[in-house]
């Protein structure tokens, strides 16, 4: 009589390469989902409005920098200062 052995339970252990591949697939899926959502939420009219507002803001900055004492970098509302007279750099 032959002895019957119970088959050993099957255990699947992912190899490192398989783990990496699975991670990659999962990340790609998430990225695709995000891209789709962004595309659905994109409103061309809204974007054009934002562009117009940004352009208007730039015009304000340009106007400020055209004044002799206005700032080029700041939109603060401090009192414009009179331009200081020049000073000379000479051999010290």
């Amino acid at each position: 009589m032959t002895e019957r052995r119970r088959p050993a339970p099957l255990r699947w252990r992912p190899k490192p390469a398989e783990t990496a591949a699975a991670t990659f697939v999962a990340m790609a899926a998430v990225a695709t989902l995000l891209a789709v959502n962004v595309a659905r939420g994109h409103d061309p009219a809204l974007a054009r409005k934002a562009d117009r507002q940004a352009a208007a803001a730039r015009v304000v900055v340009v106007e400020r920098s055209a004044a002799p004492t206005a700032t080029r970098t700041s939109a603060r509302t401090s009192t414009p200062a009179p331009a200081p007279p020049p000073v000379a750099t000479s051999q010290s």
Partner: protein, 308 residues
Amino acid sequence: MSRWSEHTFGVMGCTALVRVLDARPGDLEGAAALLAELDAEWSRFRPDGALGRLNTDRRPVVAVPPRLAWAIGRALDAAVRSGGLVDPTLGAPLRRLGYDRTFSELDPAGRAARSPARRARPARPAPDAGWRRVEVDEHLGLVHRPPGLELDLGGIGKGLAADLLVERLGAREHVVVSLGGDVVCGGHRAREIPQAVTVDDPHGGPPLATLELHGGAAATSGVTRRAWRAGGEDLHHLLDPATGRPAHTGLVQVTALAPSGLEAERIAKQALLAGPAAAPAILAAGGVLVADDGTVTHLGPVPARSAA
């Protein structure tokens, strides 16, 4: 309405200008007092001052006021950063060449404002590098150096003094300190208020250029103004550390732009001593070079426009 206040006075052997936007009472008087204190401490021409006493002290370790220890530390930093070209230990050679008192006190008959005609060559660091033998404990205010080694803060001291003053008045809207040719701007609106700075012609002609500072500093080093004649020879105060003699590098004046007066001074002097081939790389933030043949070169990202 904002209002400028300014004070012009003589200190450190030169003319100082302090200009403040929306100054508070005492600002300008305090500025003059601070510069007078620094002059007393840092001048090698004052035997009773802290640096004057240090230079004649025969002990190897000398206690000095903390602010002088700090200034010597910065001068040694400048020596390191310039590879030894901006050497603060050339006090003795300068004295032997006749520059032993404030320049305005030198015999006017002996002064010369000529560019000596010699073969140009870049200056080099001193082979024995006296500045490497100076150690400063800024915390304790102790200076270790071989007795007889004479320190000279020179233009580095002026740049530092201007920086200190601008820092002290930094809470004001705008501050300009001009100290013997070093111009430092500060204040919380310095970036938005342009300060025009004209670059003087080393030969007394009209300004060579006008720069705009939005904070930061401009400094000029040259060989035509602090120049004198002794023993039938034209001399000036920018020495080649390798020889202890006036340097002739092919440049007669360099203006440098930098974030601070100390850095602008160091860069201007280093570029002049390094000569026309190496100077453009040293003037990283821009500046103006004047060669001994009169050629003027504008360098760097800061726009320079002719004043003419």
